[in-house]
């Protein structure tokens, strides 16, 4: 009798452990990564280094918020980087007319881009991969045309580079923007009615429809929000970099998807969250930073990034199967 109870409790403990393991493994991974790096590289735990990490991942992080929303809605936005480029270009081009103008214009651009994607995917119901692949080209081309193909120098005035460089309480201003957008998106996704609707649509659009949720609007909304937040990040990009290349922006696409997927937001839709993306971002940032601290050649860094993405998804799939057991 007693034995039995012991056995059962043991099983219980095992279950609890495994449940934790399968759901929180990313955090565990993060901790492991953190410790190993701080041992491996002396400069990892320095403040300067963390300032770097912040500087180098803010734009990515803010974009990741938008991408999370889109992916939860059972989509992916392959035109994200193109939108980033377009907004940045618009922004820089219009700076002569004053920052308010430039910023509003950039944000409007972002929203319009999101609207285009959203309309084609939500309303016309065209496949999201195709649409965003297409609009990616369109937006890039537009960016090149209005920039006339040349690199644009972001003006060095302080006002603007405040966001980029100025510090507040020892942290770059943009860190606060990053934090803010994570909080805001967290609230929108997990605390607001529309967030709930988005999850419902991502999980089961038919049921969502029966529940009186206008899924096509929700989807459209997700892409518009994405467009908007990309525009915001473009402002930071423009203020951080001395010079805007359309090519620069295009390098963000892969990273942003990696970050979101790494966090555990599933491409199958309806699963995930901002906190997960935050963890994903942290892992990604630390890995990237670690690789350069350990002076791993740039080209191998790329390969490693790719491997990480695949492993993350593979792991997530394996996880999904296991989670059903515990």
């Amino acid at each position: 009798m007693i034995e039995v109870s012991i056995k059962t409790t043991r099983i219980e403990l095992k279950k609890i452990f495994l449940r934790f393991f399968y759901n929180q493994a990313m955090i565990i991974f993060l901790i492991v990564l953190f410790t190993t790096l701080s041992i491996a590289s002396g400069s990892f735990l320095t403040i300067d280094n963390w300032l770097n990490i912040i500087r180098q991942t803010t734009v990515l992080g803010i974009m990741a918020c938008g991408m999370t929303v889109v992916i939860i809605g059972k989509g992916v936005d392959l035109s994200a980087a193109a939108i980033l480029a377009l907004c940045a270009v618009v922004n820089v081009m219009l700076q002569p007319y004053g920052y308010p103008v430039a910023i509003t214009a950039a944000i409007l651009t972002g929203i319009v881009c999101g609207l285009v994607n959203g309309f084609l995917i939500g309303k016309i119901k065209a496949n999201f991969i195709i649409v965003t692949l297409g609009t990616q080209i369109l937006f890039t081309a537009t960016a090149l045309i209005i920039s006339g193909g040349r690199n644009l120098s972001s003006r060095p005035e302080r006002i603007f580079s405040y966001v980029g460089a100025e510090n507040l309480l020892g942290l770059p201003l943009m860190f606060y923007i990053l934090a803010l957008s994570f909080i805001v998106f967290g609230i929108i996704l997990h605390k607001s009615a529309s967030g709930r609707r988005l999850f419902a649509t991502g999980l089961n659009d038919k049921a969502a429809l029966v529940a009186g949720i206008n899924s096509s609007n929700v989807i459209m909304g997700s892409y518009i929000v994405n467009g908007f937040i990309i525009a915001v990040s473009s402002i930071i990009l423009a203020s951080r970099l001395p010079r805007i290349r359309v090519g620069t922006a295009s390098e963000y696409l892969f990273d942003v998807i990696t970050v979101v997927v790494l966090g555990g937001t599933a491409l199958s839709g309806g699963v995930g969250g901002i906190y997960k993306t935050a963890i994903g971002l942290l892992i990604f940032a630390i890995i990237r930073n670690g690789m350069s601290l350990l002076a791993i050649p740039y080209e191998y860094q790329q390969a490693i990034k790719g491997a990480i993405l695949i492993l993350a998804v593979l792991y997530d799939e394996f996880n999904r199967r296991k989670r059903l057991l515990y």
Binding site: L120, A126, I130, L133, I137, A303, K305, A307, L309, I310
Partner: protein, 322 residues
């Protein structure tokens, strides 16, 4: 009534590419007297050979309802491996190159079939991985070809016909034959068309899908060899963004991204159209700023049209149940 309507529409749809090609040829030869010479016609084939070869594999993969973003990476990777190994002789290096490229396909296939990961993520990942590996192996410096005879592959000619033409013809006839006359090819349509009944008909979905990925990478590897032999250099940064172009060519050729329909004959037409578009740019001395846009517009139109057409067909499918 419906039948007739369908037939006429099908006819028009079937002819659209030819129609466009003819239109382009007309415009080009009006604008440029020198266009209608054998050499300049042949040179078009010269230009599309890389995309053309890859498009065959991509078409077969697309028909099965899957797709592959890593072809560009595979192409570059193959080249790097081949040229790195050239000191060990033409045969060995070429063979290893091909194997290396095809291996990526094996990886893709396994991850998609066994790992059950979305093909998009898998191939996006492998694309990055193998471009990176290529850069690493080559110290991100282009590698010069050591064996002159290797250049003949892409630059030489047989009885006055450039190899590129010969190779294109061979691989397209092969592709056409496989798709039409082998079980491997026919199962492709079955899987893309209706997985369930394909499975019931005793088709091994996983195995087939796996091999479609392998074949796709194989053609990419072949293209890699051609590329390097044409420029007698190998670099991991070759063919930036080429994958989208290939997919666009296939889709333009009537292969649906949703699987189940299409064929290589359409694909070659698609490839030629995109190839001739480049020629248009040159002959009309297009302002550079609008070249990207024109390319973009074409590709955008292609993919959106495909999306809309297949949506239309899905609706028809539903109607049929009533």
């Amino acid at each position: 009534m419906n039948k007739l309507w369908q037939k006429t529409i099908n006819f028009i749809i079937a002819q659209k590419l030819l129609f466009i090609i003819i239109l382009m040829i007309m415009v080009l030869s009006i604008a440029d007297r020198s266009f209608l010479t054998i050499r300049s016609i042949l040179s078009i084939f010269d230009h599309v050979i890389i995309n053309g070869v890859m498009a065959v594999g991509m078409t077969i993969l697309l028909i099965s309802g899957s797709f592959d973003l890593s072809v560009g990476g595979v192409m570059a990777f193959t080249g790097v491996v081949t040229f790195l190994l050239q000191p060990y002789g033409l045969f060995i290096s070429t063979l290893c190159g091909l194997l290396a490229g095809t291996f990526v396909g094996v990886l893709n296939g396994l991850l998609v079939v066994k790992g059950r990961i979305n093909a998009f993520i898998v191939t996006l990942g492998t694309m990055i991985i193998f471009r990176g590996l290529g850069l690493g192996l080559s110290d991100s410096t282009p590698i010069k070809g050591r064996i002159p005879s290797f250049q003949l592959l892409g630059r030489g000619s047989i009885l006055g016909i450039p190899n590129s033409v010969v190779i294109l013809i061979i691989i397209y006839v092969l592709g056409w034959y496989v798709l039409k006359y082998t079980k491997f090819g026919r199962d492709d349509y079955a899987i893309g068309g209706n997985v369930l009944s394909a499975r019931l008909a005793g088709i091994n979905i996983n195995l087939n899908t796996f091999f479609y990925f392998v074949f796709c990478s194989f053609t990419a590897a072949l293209a890699g060899l051609l590329y390097c032999s044409r420029v007698n250099t190998a670099s991991a940064i070759f063919g930036p963004g080429i994958e989208l172009y290939i997919i666009a060519a296939a889709v333009l050729g009537g292969t649906s991204l949703f699987g189940g329909k299409g064929g290589v004959i359409g694909t070659i037409q698609g490839v030629l159209i995109l190839g001739m578009l480049e020629r248009v740019m040159v002959i009309f001395n297009v302002n550079v700023n609008y070249q990207t846009l024109s390319r973009g517009l074409v590709i955008l139109a292609v993919v959106v049209t495909d999306a809309l057409v297949s949506r239309r067909e899905r609706i028809l499918l539903v109607r049929r149940e009533v």
